[in-house]
Structure formats: structure tokens, C-alpha cells
Amino acid sequence: MKEDVRIQPLSIKGWLYCLLTGFIVLLFQGSIEGWLIPDGFGPDLSLILVLYLGLFAPLHSGALIVTALGFFKDVSGGGAFGVHPGIFLVIFLLEGQLRQKIDPAAPWYQMLYIGAFTLVSGSMVWLSFYLLGGPSPAPPETFSNPMFAYLLSCLLTAGVGPIFFWLFDLIVPWFGLRTEAES
């Protein structure tokens, strides 16, 4: 990850590229990933994108984009409409508080960072349904041990996270988030 990236306001092109990237990520997550890993514990690629945006995107436009990504995710799947926009927004704002203090440049640091936020995301799903008063959704079940499967899912998300951070780094110029040297 580029260490000298500064937060720049997003251009219209940047908005479009961010939303398009989110669309492609969800496209892949709902089709190919679900087909290759049918147990449902595949990495949460949309969350990885939200975490990346949380480190780079400006507050107001980034918040809108991650909320939109959350709505995309809810529409393409089941569950109560509005859960993921809320979760993504809270995670984005949390990252906003942290990004001045940390810089997860090293892959191992990124894995820890992503793994921690994946756990936070899962806890928020449970909390949201507890507050809504309905039955709690079961986490992905593999090996007949839901908690084990959920932790496996977190590990997988954390494991592939740096790869996707690297991929997103390659298209950062398209987002309009230029380095000081390039701007």
C-alpha cells in the first residue's frame, strides 16, 4: 500500500469506479465464489472493499459509497433489507477514527486488521437481529461446528484480504485517489 497517499475528494469518475468495483466484487461473490465454495464460508470480498475504502476514501463520499454497497449486497441476497448498509457504514466510520493512527502497509498487519473487522462485522449481524427481535441467523456451518466454520470464514477473509488490497492498490489511480507525487 502506498504510504504517501493522501485523502483526496472523489471525482465523478472516482465515484463511478468505486461503485463499479463494488458491483464487480458482489457479482463475483454471489456467483463464482458461491459455486466454488458452496458451504458459504467463502471470504467476504465486499467487506474487504469496504475496509480498503475506509482507509482511503473521503468521509462523506466514502460513507455514501459503502452504504450503497451495503444496499447492493442486501438486494442481491436474503436477510432484512438495511442490515449491511448499517454495518458497512459503522465499520467505515470506525476506520475513519483509526486511519490517522495506523497504516496497515505490511501484509501480516493487513491480515490482522481485516480479520479483526470481519469479527466485528459478524458480531454486528448478530446484534442487529437481536435488536430487531427476530431469531438469530446461523453462521456458516461446516464440520457441524458453526463457530469453527465462522472463524474459518474470518481466517479466509483475512488471508485473501492482502491480495485484494494489492489489487485495489493497482486501480487506486482510477478511483481518483492520487499520491502527492502524481497529483
Partner: protein
């Protein structure tokens, strides 16, 4: 943008999310227009992507896994001959049944048109269980229609766009199906939990349910016709002083591998 405006924008976003949650957690009949548009666009690309992936898979299977093909072919021919005999017998039984029904003036309970569909995408969230199929309102689908396979119940349609439909799987926590135990006719509500286990609720302690009992749809919920296989009882446990038993059910369908499904289209709702 000033700090105050940013705060207002963030608060406004939260309000929108809370409103969406309030609306979304209620009993929605169908998808809204923006949802339909998004599903149409997303599912169109997913259908293309899955089509390509399945072509590659078929190519792999067709050209690289020819070992045992001849033996498998012979075995299948024998099985086909045996099944043909069974089909003939069943056809006879079906015709006799129809004659008897006419005599007794019963209305046929199976006034359904069966429509095949293919699963083109799975829920991107691991917490919820739904799929999108490549049939929509243009094919006569509407929310509430049952979706099955030859193994048993898959779920029901919860939203349709012109060319695609969202199916809530019976293993989703939001799913509830009126069920009966085939052997003893004990009735309960089958609630989805996970791919391996569902929960049969409201079974009284005195009701006769045991391990390996087969669970079928009762036909009383107005959605599923009666007699469709749901699963098998895997565990029955009395929970202390509680009046209900805790009954775990293993779904009949392997939800990890569903590719083709059947939608049962009835002209009029049951109720």
C-alpha cells in the same frame, strides 16, 4: 464541506438505513422497483458468468474424466430399464387413482404447472440463505410460489423481477414451513437454521416423534402442496420442564449442490 454538514449527512444516512431496516424486517410482499432493476442488472451478468463457468466445468468433465465411462454407461442402461418398468407400474396406479377420484368426485390437489429453472447466484452473505434463479414474472412467477427438486423442498419465491426471481431457502432463519411427520401425522413448524439442521417447533412432549421419521409438508400453509419431502428427524430432545420438544431435522436436499430447481405455479393461491 464543513464539519456540521458532514455530521448532518452521516446522521441522514443512518436515518435512511434505520428506515430501510424497519421496512425490510417487515413482511414485504415483493421487491421494490429499484431492487428489481438492480437484481435484473446484477443477475444478467451473474447468469453469463455462471454459464461460462459451467461450460468450462462440462468441458473438464466431458474430455478429461472418461475413466469408467463405459461401465457407468452400462450401469445406467440397466437402471433405466428397471425404472421404465417401475414407471409403467406407477402410470397404471396413477390412472387407477384418477378413476377412483373421479368416482368419489374429489378435486385434484395437484393443479400446478411445473417450470424448470437454474440457480445463477447464491447469497453473497454467508449469514443468509437465498438464491437467484433465471425465471421471473415474464415466465409467470410471483412471490409465494413453492420451489422444489426431486429430492424435496428447496424454498419459496420471495421476490421477482421480469427475468429473475429470489428464492428464500427453507434453511434460512426467516423460513417457516407447516410440516407433519409422515408416520404419526404430528404437526409442527419447520424453521430454517443451517444447511445441515432445521428445527421443528411446537411439537408437544406427548407427541410421537422419533429419530429417522420423515417430515413432509402439510399443505396447510397455503404455499406448499401437501406431501413434499422436507427432511428426516435427526434428534429429539425434551428440554426439562418446557412443554415442547426440541426436534432437529436434517434437510432432504443437499443445498450445497443445487443447480436446477422446479417452480410449482398454481393459477390461484390455495387460500
Amino acid at each position: 464541506m464543513s464539519a456540521r454538514l458532514r455530521l448532518i449527512a452521516i446522521v441522514a444516512l443512518f436515518v435512511i438505513v434505520v428506515v430501510a431496516l424497519s421496512v425490510g424486517s417487515g413482511n414485504r410482499r415483493d421487491m421494490s422497483v429499484p431492487e428489481k432493476v438492480l437484481v435484473e442488472v446484477l443477475a444478467t451478468f451473474q447468469e453469463g458468468l455462471m454459464g461460462s463457468a459451467r461450460s468450462v466445468e462440462d468441458l473438464w468433465r466431458g474430455y478429461f474424466f472418461l475413466i469408467g465411462l463405459r461401465e457407468e454407461n452400462e450401469a445406467l442402461k440397466k437402471a433405466q430399464a428397471r425404472l421404465r418398468g417401475q414407471v409403467d407400474q406407477l402410470r397404471e396406479a396413477g390412472q387407477a387413482n384418477e378413476r377412483l377420484r373421479k368416482l368419489l368426485n374429489f378435486k385434484s390437489e395437484n393443479d400446478y404447472t411445473v417450470l424448470g429453472a437454474r440457480v445463477i447466484s447464491w447469497d453473497p452473505s454467508a449469514w443468509f440463505k437465498s438464491v437467484i434463479i433465471n425465471r421471473g414474472s415474464e415466465d409467470g412467477l410471483r412471490p409465494g410460489l413453492p420451489v422444489v427438486t426431486d429430492e424435496g423442498v428447496i424454498g419459496r419465491v420471495v421476490g421477482v423481477s421480469p427475468r429473475f426471481a429470489k428464492v428464500l431457502l427453507m434453511i434460512d432463519y426467516n423460513s417457516s414451513i407447516d410440516a407433519i411427520v409422515r408416520r404419526t401425522r404430528v404437526r409442527g413448524i419447520l424453521a430454517g437454521r443451517s444447511e445441515k439442521t432445521c428445527l421443528l417447533k411446537y411439537v408437544l412432549k406427548n407427541d410421537e416423534v422419533s429419530k429417522d421419521d420423515v417430515l413432509v409438508t402439510s399443505g396447510l400453509d397455503g404455499i406448499f402442496p401437501g406431501g413434499l419431502t422436507l427432511g428426516t428427524v435427526s434428534r429429539v430432545k425434551a428440554m426439562g420442564p418446557a412443554i415442547f420438544l426440541e426436534v432437529d431435522v436434517t434437510p432432504a436436499v443437499d443445498f450445497k449442490r443445487i443447480e436446477e430447481v422446479l417452480v410449482l405455479i398454481r393459477e390461484e393461491p390455495l387460500f
